[in-house]
Symmetry: C2
Subunit: 459 residues, 2 copies
């Protein structure tokens, strides 16, 4: 970062010549850009620029690189591990003015979008062509941000994560170079998989400005169901069997009884206050029926209650709304608190054990922490409801999270299924990945020798 404030003014002057009035040092705008949706302390950048194309991003990065000024990419600000906090100051590059859908190829089921396009915008714009983009992390995140954090969400059990659904990228490197990775073919063995290297790199290796993503035909039939269980164990074991049998379910989400209570209160619903699974099936009418029957039998075997069914779009949306509101419903359980979202993922065979031990920990620490999980992937979250000013409570929450993560790693799982490392899980990454973190660092150093790309994250 420039040593003198006059240097800073010089830089800002040059940046203004690039993006004109789409550059600001306003305190309110800066504050908004240093904060994500987590409990992690925010840190405002020194300025925010709103480029409109890849070339502008490149020029901004070059100018910042010349004076070793950090640059932090900002999408929709919905990350959860402090990814956008300007820990070492710097210029925030907000990509929200890059919202163009550059091409849609119905015949090949793919499209190219600018990084600031959000998933809801994309879905809205391809709907008329009978297409959709399945990755749904809940928040209306940007496609660039979802790529940078390797996001996934409720549909991943059938459609995979961003890793599986990005065909190629345009990336601005730390010296301003613009590269294109990948292509449009469904597979390739051409050289190193740079696309996958940038997916999940959290803005530390380059800034993603365009993304080529896969689309899918909207299924002929979609059907959703909600089913309460007597015990959490039963609900999770039903899911394990469904996955082990290879039933191609599109979504299967678990909410524990605490979360169901929160959802009922928040959305004025009357679901039984019990561990509950939300299902969704996609396919032809016949395959959806067949899947639902198979799942119905398994659910019965594990003492699941009656399915509440929804086949029409409106009903389905209403049903899923409860799931989508879960995070906010949880926060509303304790007004004024903040949410500490945890995010482990384990091999499916260890899922019941992992959740039950975590439930016991929650009780032991006396914390309020509803559970919601993409259980088909072995991934689940607590929303630990904390008062950040209460030191002992924060310590308890940290212990709870640390213990979850340690158990997950011991089970062959991961400290983060989909939220990423940011600056919240740097130690966890080391616990999980050991010496391979040194290899990540080597790559970081060679591609960003001045350490200006979102410094302080991942490492």
């Amino acid at each position: 970062m420039p040593a003198q404030s006059s240097d800073l003014e010089d830089l800002f002057g040059r940046l203004r010549t690039v993006v004109d009035d789409r550059f600001t040092t306003s305190a309110a705008v800066r504050e908004h850009h240093g904060r994500d949706q987590s409990y992690h302390p925010a840190k405002s950048p020194d300025a925010v620029a709103f480029p409109r194309n890849t070339e502008e991003v490149s020029t901004i990065v070059q100018l910042c690189s010349d004076v070793s000024m950090p640059v932090i990419a900002f999408g929709a600000g919905t990350s959860l591990e402090g990814h956008v906090a300007a820990l070492h100051g710097g210029v925030c590059i907000d990509l929200s003015e890059m919202k163009e859908i550059l091409s849609v190829n119905s015949a090949d089921l793919d499209c190219r979008v600018e990084a600031g396009v959000t998933r809801k915008q994309l879905n809205y714009e391809v709907k008329d062509k009978g297409l959709f983009f399945p990755i749904d992390p809940g928040a209306d995140a940007s496609i660039g941000g979802m790529s940078a954090t390797r996001a996934s969400g409720t549909n991943a059990v059938l459609y995979g994560t961003m890793r599986d659904n990005v065909l190629g990228l345009t990336v601005v490197l730390s010296d301003g170079r613009i590269i294109r990775t990948g292509g449009r073919s469904r597979k390739s063995a051409a050289g190193y998989d740079l696309t996958r290297l940038f997916i999940g790199s959290e803005g530390t290796l380059g800034i993603i400005t365009e993304v080529q993503v896969r689309l899918y035909g909207i299924p002929e039939a979609m059907s959703s169901a909600v089913c309460p269980f007597k015990t959490l164990d039963d609900a999770v074991n039903a899911v394990i069997l469904i996955i082990q049998l290879g039933i191609p379910i599109a979504r299967v989400e678990l909410l524990d009884e605490v979360m169901m209570d929160a959802v009922n209160r928040y959305s004025d619903l009357e679901h039984p206050i019990r561990p509950t699974l939300f299902f969704e099936f996609h396919g032809s009418k016949q395959t959806v029926r067949e899947q639902a029957e198979s799942v119905g039998e398994i659910v019965k075997e594990y003492g699941g209650g009656d399915f509440a069914w929804a086949t029409k779009a409106e009903q389905r949306n209403q049903l899923w709304q409860a799931r989508h509101d879960a995070y906010y419903a949880a926060l509303a359980l304790r007004p004024g608190c903040e949410g500490w979202p945890t995010d482990i993922c384990v091999p499916i065979s260890r899922l019941a054990e992992s959740i039950l031990e975590t439930k016991a920990d929650i009780k032991r620490y006396g914390l309020l922490a509803p559970i919601v999980g993409h259980v088909g992937d072995g991934n689940y979250h607590l929303s630990i409801l904390v008062n950040p000013d209460d030191e002992s409570e924060m310590e308890a929450a940290k212990s709870l999270n640390d213990r979850m993560i340690a158990r997950a790693i011991e089970m062959g799982g991961t400290c983060t299924g989909e939220h990423g490392i940011g600056y919240g899980k740097i130690e966890s990454l080391r616990s999980e990945s050991g010496d391979s973190v040194d290899v990540m660092r080597q790559i970081k150093r060679t591609l960003d020798p001045r350490n200006i790309m979102n410094p302080g994250k991942i490492f």
Copy 2:
């Protein structure tokens, strides 16, 4: 490489202390290890070592690194772009004695294998558990080699490629460091995706010694069918529609009339000598029936002939044998020739155009070049039958391949769908990936500063 032959003898002495009699400088063994299954000139390594575990590989690499001696990993020798040729001399590390299946987790549908385990061995050993490993490049390649080249094959349209089916790796780096990447959970957002970086790196960044792969339950029902078409165009257009409609077909392979003739002659079969599609459907009895019906309708629409069906394992194997023998059948069309296998992949909407222009080129150049394709992925191969001693023929083959590749890149496709770059497609990689090759080089340099890992490949 060591300058003096006495240095070489010193190194060999030290290597013998590591692997004892599993080290040889025999000319016959060396020759075998410098050659793959392609037309590319072979180049023997200076010695071949057969380590039995990761630690031995690490020690060998360290000793070679100390004297800047190249190391070339060798799996089953079935690569097709000269991957194993010791272009700068060096020690070949043959992993075929690392054949242990380290663990099979039926409950999580995954397993960990040593790099030398072949796909047929793996399938044989997990069959009794009702499991299978779907990636099938034709040859009985090793899992380590398939990872290193990002292999795929006939089942990729449903199950994906090695990229999608490897959960984690053990890798020996150029300085002998041993790292583990990935884990056993189905998804993770923990740091850079090193697993995907090593998959497809062709031994140029490290030597893969263990692989954690996904397995699948053997489907309840499998059904295969063969169907001839009047024209190539019709056959390809039928495939395009099947893919665009999202029918989850497991395999769909195209053989042109030249290849069908070759297969008939080679295996004494009586298929019509016409462009022909081979299909396979996996799923429950009901979904397989449904898929077959949908495909049947599409095929009829495009004037496809009657399906020859096979549902029993033995019939299916017999039917697919014809497909699996295609490369050898092609070679037999012109005894004494060598095969020049091409390998482009294009977006599915451009597939018919790509194949038809290629057919016209084959005719124009007067070459014999049967076509076989994993057309569901937009990927197809010619087996150009060449006499390597005939310069003008080799030039014509090169022009044909260059034109195919140039068109594929122009269409948004790739110069290699599954064979990789080796030393055969270095220029094509640059045409396709432009400046991003410089980024690949930067990564190569930082992880292999002495350029000892399979030098001369990819770059």
